[in-house]
């Protein structure tokens, strides 16, 4: 079988949960080698053990094929998204595979299947498990309800993205805080491949990512604060009516409770709204500061 001419990059995230990255990457190499003439592997090392890195380098020297592999060593422990962004920035492929985790529960032929799906006209192919954890499901339900992108998000195992989609993603924002959300909202065709199983090992720093994503890529925060403000206003009006009626009845002492209620409730509301504003401001500040949003210590060619 003749191999594909398109150049493929595969970005693989590694951290201290990665005990045997050479297993996954070894499988990945054999799969890519079978189907593609030219490909590169970019491992993003976010605090993986020295042992894991050593095994990875040994893998390169063992493999007969001329694999091009780079390891990006992150300076300090950074979020999965930041690391993947670093890997994507280094990649040069026409198509780029994003493996957020080296703990694969799926069959490797899915990697090739994702590429075939891309050739049929999808700029983004998400490969997803049919099982989602309860917290993920809850997050995506809120996310999808409040986001206005054409595609609904769900838990995924890995992604394949075309170069033009990556270029568009980088065009729209300086820093991709949550890649999936950006990909889904770019107006390019996205398709899904579902396999039976679940994904593990993506539990870390999820809460921050979830909060950031909801604020950045949905109008959840805005709607929440708006509703809160409305409720508060209604409560204030009700309190005001009550105060007026008490005053008319001629027993003003009992209005003290109402005043306190309005004050405390109102102030709580104001602070809640402030919290939202602060969240937005901090995000705006971070996104407009123009930096690449991650710190790299070194790039090794293996």
């Amino acid at each position: 079988m003749s191999r594909e001419q398109n150049f493929i990059s595969a970005v693989v995230y590694l951290d201290n949960m990665s005990l045997a990255p050479e297993k996954f990457i070894g499988g990945l190499i054999s799969c890519l080698d079978e189907h593609f003439m030219h490909y590169e592997i970019i491992a993003v090392n976010n605090g993986a053990s020295d042992e894991a890195c050593r095994k990875l380098k040994a893998l390169k020297s063992e493999s007969a094929s001329s694999v091009h592999m780079s390891i990006i060593n992150m300076s300090v422990h950074q979020s999965r998204e930041q690391c993947m962004n670093a890997g994507l920035d280094l990649s040069a492929g026409d198509y780029v595979y994003e493996f957020d985790s080296d703990d694969a529960e799926y069959d490797l032929p899915l990697i090739w299947k994702a590429y075939q799906s891309a050739l049929q006209g999808s700029d983004i192919v998400e490969v997803c498990p049919d099982h989602e954890s309860r917290s993920s499901r809850a997050f995506y339900r809120i996310f999808n309800a409040y986001s206005n992108s054409a595609y609904a998000l769900r838990t995924n195992a890995f992604t394949l993205i075309s170069r033009r989609a990556l270029n568009r993603a980088h065009d729209s924002r300086a820093t991709l805080s949550y890649r999936k959300a950006v990909y889904a909202s770019m107006g390019l065709k996205m398709s899904e491949i579902v396999f039976p199983g679940k994904v593990r090992g993506k539990e870390r720093d999820r809460f921050t990512l979830a909060a950031d994503s909801l604020a950045l890529y949905t109008d959840f925060g805005y709607k929440f604060s708006l509703r809160f403000a409305l409720t508060m206003m209604l409560a204030t009006i009700a309190g005001m009516l009550y105060t007026v009626s008490v005053w008319l009845a001629g027993s003003p002492v009992s209005g003290w409770t109402t005043t306190m209620f309005v004050l405390t409730f109102g102030l709580t509301g104001i602070f809640a709204a402030f919290a939202m504003v602060m969240k937005y401001l901090s995000l705006v500040l971070r996104m407009s500061s123009g930096g690449q949003g991650y710190l790299v210590e070194s790039i090794e060619k293996v």
Partner: protein
Amino acid sequence: MAIIHDKIIIGAGLYGLYSALLCGRKGENVLILEQDSEAFSRATYINQARVHMGYHYPRSLSTAMKSAHYFDRFVHDFGFACLTEFEQIYATSTRMSWTNAREFVKFCHAADIPCEPLMPDKYFRPGLCDGAFLTKEYTYDAHILRAWFLEQISRLPNVEVLYDRRVSSVSQSGSVWRVKAGGISAEAPFLLNASYASVNEIHRMLGFEPFGIKYELCEIILCTVSENLRNIGLTVMDGPFFSIMPFGKTGLHSLTSVTFTPHETSYEDTAVFPCQKDSGGLCGKGRLCNCNTCPAKPESAWPYMRQLAEKYMRPEYEFRYVRSLYSMKPILKASEVDDSRPTVIRQYSSSPAFVSVLSGKINTVYDLDEVLSQ
């Protein structure tokens, strides 16, 4: 019976021939021993052929200023071999770079070298470079330079160049060095080791401390380019990027990349590479053959370098593969952090004199003047 010379020079690269000419013109009796069958057949020819003005070293002001200092002198002396009429553009990558547009401008001002801001989008795909600068940097043609040196040397009866003479041993004999190479034996009170990648092999013969270097087996790709790129050189700084620029006066461009140009790296004092065992006995530890003519040279990284260049360059700029050149590049280990490329000249003994030189830049050759005046 060994012939006694004033100086023996090991290596007919630019540093060797420059020294020979300089000393020969002073009337000294000079012998050059070259292991290949012609001069300039390794690193002097096989590199990006930049006449450095310093732009390449935005993290080492000292290297930059030194390059700039010698730039005018080199162009004055060897302008006939330099291509000057093209736009040399340096750009800073938006991502993954160790520098950025603002720092690059600051650096150029500090080094006092010209740098005129351009629109990056004219040359690069949108968003990939945050700055592009028109600079003043030339490229030299090693073959024109070689022809000139050999012609000048041929006029001097007191300078002799011997090819296919691999130095097999060096020993001290009283106040002179006795050098054996390819069946001949020669003696001189001054030995200049200008053998570049083989520098530590000579040190080993004498038991001198090796230079702290690592070795990279490098590939330079020569390309034909579309008309709109013919008079343009592009270099993206400073990290895992690439450069495509005119290769002397050959009409071709050289394509190199920081990631893919080095194929293999050796951290030993004298180079050890897995490909040596496939060289048919030509190459081995302490005996580097010419990578460019070696039967075991690596497969070209062209698909990778092309991919990287195409990621950055606008699609209307086209380039096609012609051939690859391979050479061994020694890099001082100490210069990783600041990416400086100092020219190292070290005198190991004075009577008889032994001097080693190691430099990755063509225009710092003048650094030799002082030590050669002994």
